[in-house]
Symmetry: C2
């Protein structure tokens, strides 16, 4: 299980061979989480998709859980980078909400958040997984916080609630929406909400008022 702390017997050697194997396993893990869900993401199933022996997962990652976390890290890094680019140069709530809606849609279509949601769900189902997943969500909260801070400035709303808490709430809402969509196997609820986002951003703009142009 390579529980943090244990040096464990994971072989992270950097030989080309090893890197290639790890890559294939991570890709297969991502695909399996997206298409089959956490439930079916067993060593056997993932290995079959990668066309490799399931024992390799334990050799290279120490446990299935670790492989799944590596998979989460992989998509997480890619997404965060992409989001950074999208949010860059945004400085009004209106634009930020537009960017967020675009991100939301892209995620729904591509199934990126699916990986995160499956892992959050899986945490209910795998002893030590919770904290590890929580640690991987933290960067997202920071990212959200920074994105909003620039936009909020020192508006009245900013005085009412700290940006860090607001960011926490936004991420929670995002996760909750994805979770519900996911349960229902139908994203119409979330999409309906996204459609209202624009209306709400106008509301936010009004609340923030002059600050919007100030920054």
């Amino acid at each position: 299980m390579a529980k943090s702390g244990t040096p464990s017997r994971v072989h992270e050697a950097g030989s080309p061979r090893s890197i290639e194997t790890r890559r294939r396993l991570i890709d297969a893990a991502v695909a399996t989480l997206q298409r089959e869900g956490f439930a079916r993401s067993s060593a056997r199933v993932i290995a079959e998709r990668a066309q490799m022996n399931q024992g390799l997962i334990f050799y290279h990652f120490g446990s299935v859980t670790n492989l799944l976390l590596a998979a989460l890290d992989d998509v997480s890094a890619k997404r965060l980078e992409r989001y950074g680019a999208m949010v860059d140069g945004v400085d009004t709530p209106d634009e930020l909400v537009d960017a967020a809606a675009a991100i939301f849609d892209e995620d729904l279509d591509a199934g990126y958040v699916t990986v995160l949601v499956e892992m959050i769900g899986g945490a209910s189902s795998t002893p030590g997984l919770g904290p590890a997943v929580a640690a991987r969500i933290r960067p997202w909260i920071s990212f959200t916080e920074n994105s909003m801070r620039g936009v909020l400035g020192d508006s009245p709303l900013a005085g009412l609630i700290p940006a860090s808490d607001l960011a926490y709430a936004v991420v929670a809402l995002y996760i909750g929406l994805e979770m519900l969509s996911h349960l229902e196997g139908d994203r119409s609820g979330a999409r309906r909400l996204a459609a209202h986002a624009k209306d709400l951003s106008r509301l936010a703009s009004a609340l923030i008022g002059p600050a919007a142009e100030a920054t």
Copy 2:
């Protein structure tokens, strides 16, 4: 729950003996979900807590999943009743938010939502569970919608976004917050948010304006 459709071999006989057995199993299932999580809520573990043979779960409920759903139904019904009482007689946003905050706290302390959150998580981990859990969340959305509708009246905010969509978002936020708290094994984030709820309700009151007194 005998999966609607399948006549199955579940014995729902109403003999006192049978009822007693079912009760004990449901109570044990609730306790296990709360204290050990979905992961450890196997037939064997639940049965041991109930001091019964694990085979009884299959005799009375057909499957572990069905027992867990019965457990969810059990707490869900109790909570919904309690919430109804709390929200009854509320007609301003301020009062509603107060009631909601009280509910939120009570839930966090007693671990009631834990059962729901564990089941939502478990859905990632058990093939057909998703839709069944989604169906059990729907009454909560309706409840929220009704609670808010009375308060919103025909205020400007009500014109901006339908009560049904707003209710969906509120429930999603609630679930998301619980989910995050749960992952971190620490509810401080959620509590910090709850502390801001009062501030935000004042904001809402201002937006709704005269309607608050009107109803």
